[in-house]
Assembly symmetry: D2
Homo-oligomer: 368 residues x 4
């Protein structure tokens, strides 16, 4: 249930890790929107596995076939359905997992929820593979935002506890954000790449995995997007971010650090710069009262270590109802953080499109 | 827009800080549910201002009048509308704020969004006062959950950076959670109360404010609640939590700390205890793959310091379009954290009701 | 459940016939919209009981108190809650009805659904009284539409089988529609008033009731509003129209008569009139493919006779589980059709606002 | 926009008449539901073109490929996506229609709405072809209902004004409904088939088309399904029925005829039959107050004549902005009514599933 997200730019996601295909129906792409298949392929490649030593060796081309809503390179206004074939599925890897619940995975929760009828192959609909359609939807969304002068970008804020620098939230630039997109391992402090990669490789060699944090930003967002209460920008972004497997925390602006500040420190002073109102700092990450205030929008999402590890773990066998041990074989990412960067950008792009459309709906019949 | 939350246990919130009344329509209270007005009053009092030195001196009785959906002490199945009169509204306090945007508040974002037509008195619909109807709805929700053996509780995890102990997520008990509800300043380590209060008082005397963190838990939740992707438990709780003013971060289980762990540390090992499957640790906060796994559900929400402070701040006057300074007068909380404890409990209760109803809808026509 | 209607101009309705109050929360009124309390009162009076011999003698002033979302005569952009006190509720009239299910009413269906906990006084939430908040919401909606050059009006198309003339769907004018609003018994052929009133009076004297049909139109609606499939104009209007108690059929354009025509008769030929495309006929009632085509929008709704009648009826007593007879006492409308005219106008106005906002949301990020 | 229908049994439809494929994502199929591909194929064949002289000669196998949510013949609980390839698309037929707006079709309304970017081939997303995924979803829904003892069936109530008999609404049987499903031209009075077919053939030979009415019923529905106001059974069914192209009117029970009855005639008397409450008549079509009352559910939908006709029509050319004439070539149904019978059954099945799930969600946390 709840395969659909959004009120205006509305996604309906479908598919499983090891089924014939997976995809997303996007309802609300404005008619006439140019669909740039090259840009889509570029973002899909950023997420695709098998391209970097931190990732699984399993290769998937992840080519998106658009089967509706497209004519002569432009969106028709009808629901746009993008489909991705699953080409590299060795179900054999997962045979024992029908019975043995993988710790840290959805296996046991899903076994109870679906009475044992869920698709256990590769985690079924719980697979990180479902983020592929999300990235496709995000690539449509970011094109719409780009036409409005909005740029989105993200970097690895930490891996295995090793930190990158942080965005300067008051003055991160579109150029910085754009630049990060061309890297498979985007960092603000390139010197941190080597120790991070070492930590991943070390975990991999030990049959283990590591997590990390992704920091994401948007610049060029005008003030006034979002709503008080249930339509807050934070509500919409977080609801979508937490649908991405392995995300366990999200913070906006200074996040939890705000809880240790005084009001006089946390409040961002404002002043006119010509006709524009700007804040002199951006502790609130571009959002006050749930609404954008014109400053760069900044959030961080914490990603737990990949639960699929080769190391032996204690678990249960729901068939025999016995306590057992489990070593997960197969090709798994020792660290999904680099591939998740574009996923978080997609979350932000999709949420912003939906919120901007909401704002428009609320204005159209208003007094001019 | 988006005054409505939930798909089954559905809230529609209305009102402003200084209007005649505020309230909430709850659609989906099962017919026949006993409505315990005393329990409601008890939870409303936990949030009400003027009861503790950390709070504003402004007193509001916050009595809820139920104007629909109730007959002979039981819910009728029709929408239940609870209304709270605003009795103590000195609008004069806020007169200058029509023009001068309060830093850290929604003022400027709302001014742009609503073209200057928003209600600026006390923050209008952005006011923390809107959490009063949320607590009312939460008190209905927690009664429904209690009948299912679920207990919810929370404590102050930190104020001004001064930490309380944390819940032991693998074995927090219903008794602990219940016990916390009777305190206006709920802590696991009572010794932390004095330093926390000192930090609040110090800030108050300096015309400043402090923030904090609230940790919230539910025990007795059965496995299988929630859905993959857009209906994840984390998605639903976070969307609601971020609609509460001043919340800027949320984390489930170990939260961001998970990003620094190895998979072998973060994965919670499972074993049978009799017929029941339990986890030996609970780093995932009772949620795996977006679905409850039967372990205690644990999250923390970070609350920024109250933005209304007496200290002089730099800001803009949108009438004169000049840079100005502002000292906010009136009665404001130097720290809203103690009053927000019951608000976070309410968030959890409401989200769980909605998710449990969703689960039921998904089962009813299934094979037995 | 489902007290909320609409995706953008969103109503949440609450209250019962004999509770303390009833009302509606309207989410999505654009900030700055002037709220004309006189116009509201005028439309409320058109629906109010006790004003015409066809109606119940029970008087209700039906004054709307706006308790949120309003400041200085303008909408603030926050949810607007309108409340109507129930002042004239003689519950005694309905005492026996707890046990004896009124034929043609919701009583038995509701008894089963709500396990006997529903509010039986005056039909509780099933009462036609709930159309009062709908008319209030409609009066807000029609003001928004009026500012866009759209006029809405309706007339009694038949009572007790006695027909009025029909709108000429290809050329009904704003003047005609406006003129109808000033009458308590709006007809295109005034000569039909006397026989209609006689039929109502005859039924009343016999302790019986009659039904009728209402024809409703909107002019000035631009082409392009609505969507294929689930967002069709007919889908949105009909969903709302059937929430009005006693409506049992709805038809657009020529309605069922279209099923007897040839395609060559039913298709409305088009031509340019200057720059504008017009249809030479309007069999499709201004809607083709679920989307407005610029012609007047026309629909008819059939209203069954009021089920509350004094004549003795066979029914069941759910307390004693016996077959019994029932004569309904109290003050009931022998014919609700005249009062329902403004209700159907409100349905059309609300649906159009929602659809126009949807259209705007779909365009905002599109290529210009 | 609004490609999604339902709150619990939720459809998201996608595709166009002449795109590579079309389909539907069904969210909410209970895990473990057996998926009977033969039954699906049977219902798909009832709708498929090219099987009867009343239909277009264009053949489409309309085989559904289920690409997600299915494992080992059972639903997994994840979104179930069914896809149908478009195999027989001669776009050449429609070339001139980019410019020349077909009367009675969505063409002009869509041209305005989508700024000329919509897919004009075969009507794009407005095509009756989109009812194929609806029938697929309906076949899943009716299997779920069948397991609850509910049977759905429909017949041709009229074609070109030539009437069939009507269901006896108080005592239509499951056997009758099931029997109708095996006919390509289902009638209660088989003698009407010949004159109906003659009327269709006559229209076809003249390059014209005819419409008709479909009557649909469900038996075995328990009382208590549906809600007052916006969740009325009539609201949900009508919203879905009007999303089917060419439907222009819907009526429940006696429909408009109720408007000519007295209350004493229209009210269905009730009595106990053993433990069961039954109505002695069923003028209300099994629904009172928007909620099922346990009697057979009956509605009729009027279908306008196919707008695609060979006869010359007056219309506009939006490219040259001139008045022109148009003769639509290609293979079109002279009458879509026989193929639409299973579509209306599907509408009823889908709506009932959604409503029954809603009812379950509303009960689960209630007092037992």
């Amino acid at each position: 249930m709840r395969a659909t997200f959004g009120e205006h730019f509305r996604l309906t996601i479908w598919g499983e890790s090891h089924g014939p295909a997976l995809g997303v129906v996007i309802d609300g792409v404005p008619a006439g929107t140019p669909i740039d298949e090259e840009a889509i392929a570029m973002h899909m490649a950023r997420r695709a596995p098998g391209q970097d030593p931190t990732s699984t060796a399993r290769k998937e081309p992840d080519r998106v076939q658009i089967v509706s809503g497209l004519l002569d390179g432009r969106a028709t206004g009808a629901p746009l359905c993008g489909m991705i074939a699953n080409t590299n599925t060795r179900s054999g890897d997962y045979a024992q997992l029908r019975a043995r619940m993988r710790p840290g995975h959805a296996d046991y929760a899903a076994f109870v929820k679906y009475g044992g009828c869920n698709d256990p192959r590769g985690g079924g609909p719980f697979s990180g593979r479902l983020t592929a359609p999300l990235v496709f939807a995000g690539s449509i969304a970011r094109a719409l935002l780009s036409a409005q002068g909005i740029t989105i970008g993200a970097h690895i804020a930490s891996i295995a506890g090793i930190p990158d620098a942080r965005f300067d939230p008051a003055c991160v630039s579109a150029e910085t954000l754009q630049g990060l997109q061309s890297s498979r391992f985007p960092l603000l402090s390139p010197g941190q790449e080597a120790p991070m990669r070492r930590a991943v490789e070390e975990a991999r060699l030990q049959g283990d995995s590591v997590g990390g944090v992704i920091e994401c930003a948007a610049v060029g967002v005008r003030p006034g997007i979002g709503s008080p209460f249930f339509g807050s920008v934070e509500s919409v972004i977080s609801a979508l971010a937490f649908s991405v497997p392995a995300v366990k925390a999200i913070e906006f602006g200074d996040g939890p650090a705000l809880s240790g500040l005084r009001g006089s420190q946390a409040n961002d002073p404002m002043r006119y710069e010509g006709d524009r109102v700007v804040c002199l700092s951006n502790h609130n990450g571009g959002i006050t009262g749930g609404i954008t205030n014109g400053m760069p929008l900044v959030f961080r999402a914490a990603v737990k270590p990949t639960p699929s590890i080769a190391l032996e773990q204690q678990t249960v066998d729901v068939t025999t109802r016995e306590n057992v041990t489990l070593s997960i074989r197969g090709r798994h990412d020792p660290c999904i953080v680099p591939r998740a960067v574009v996923v978080m950008e997609s979350v932000l792009a999709i949420a912003l499109c939906d919120l901007m459309m909401d704002d428009a709906a609320g204005r159209v019949l208003g007094p001019s």
